[in-house]
């Protein structure tokens, strides 16, 4: 499928488990982003990547790990999930830095019990 996809779309897990959310884009965009969306907070950046093997922290990186071995993939791992990480997670990408809008994936709704 063309565009940006996320998997799974829904996930329920338990506290302390490791969870990986996948993000894949077919545009060869350089930049990719991970956000979490919570009521009252809008979207908050977790991590972003400027290219393969280049990642940087955003506003709320604690408890999350990212990697980017290939341009098209940007997985987000919760190493030991906590209830406070229950949220909707959005992946996004764009071609250049600030001249272009971001294109968002459909989101993953994660519930940590």
């Amino acid at each position: 499928d063309a565009g940006i996809t996320q998997s799974p779309r829904y996930k329920i897990t338990e506290t302390g488990r490791q969870v990986t959310l996948m993000c894949h884009q077919t545009w060869s965009h350089s930049y990719m982003f991970w956000y979490r969306q919570d009521l009252g907070h809008g979207l908050r950046l977790i991590y972003y990547s400027a290219a393969a093997d280049i990642t940087d922290k955003g506003e709320v990186p604690d408890g999350y790990v990212v990697s980017r071995s290939k341009t098209e993939n940007f997985p987000l791992t919760l190493e030991s999930a906590t209830r406070s990480q229950t949220s909707v997670y959005f992946c996004a990408s764009n071609f250049g830095w600030s001249y272009n809008e971001q294109f968002f994936g459909p989101g993953t709704r994660l519930t940590v019990l």
Partner: protein, 106 residues
């Protein structure tokens, strides 16, 4: 700490009316982005404003940017039900406001 504030947070308006959503931000930035999110859906880009004084229009929506005042506005003209959604502004690429939830009442 960079802050992006939108107001109002919630807006209920009748069809046919006009209204403006405001986005204030605390840092120097000559670029601002507006996105729309339908309930339960993802975000889609509406406007990219790239300089002071930029104005863009699409249908009943018009966005403007005043970088000196650190203010962007999203003006809605003659609202229709299809415009019901949450609207977000963002600065420096990835700092988002908390969103304005718009409901247009028939």
């Amino acid at each position: 700490e960079l802050k992006v504030e939108q107001n109002p947070l919630f807006l209920s308006m009748q069809e046919g009316k006009n209204y403006t959503i405001y986005c204030n931000y605390s840092t120097t930035s000559d670029r601002l982005y507006w996105y729309r999110q339908d309930p339960g859906k993802s975000l889609e880009s509406l406007f990219v404003l790239l300089s002071n004084g930029a104005v863009k229009q699409e249908g009943r929506l018009m966005a403007s940017l005043d970088t000196k005042a650190r203010l962007s506005t999203l003006h809605i003209t003659a609202a229709v039900h299809d415009l019901s959604a949450t609207y977000f502004c963002a600065v420096v690429q990835f700092y988002f406001g908390t969103g304005t939830s718009l409901t247009v009442i028939p």
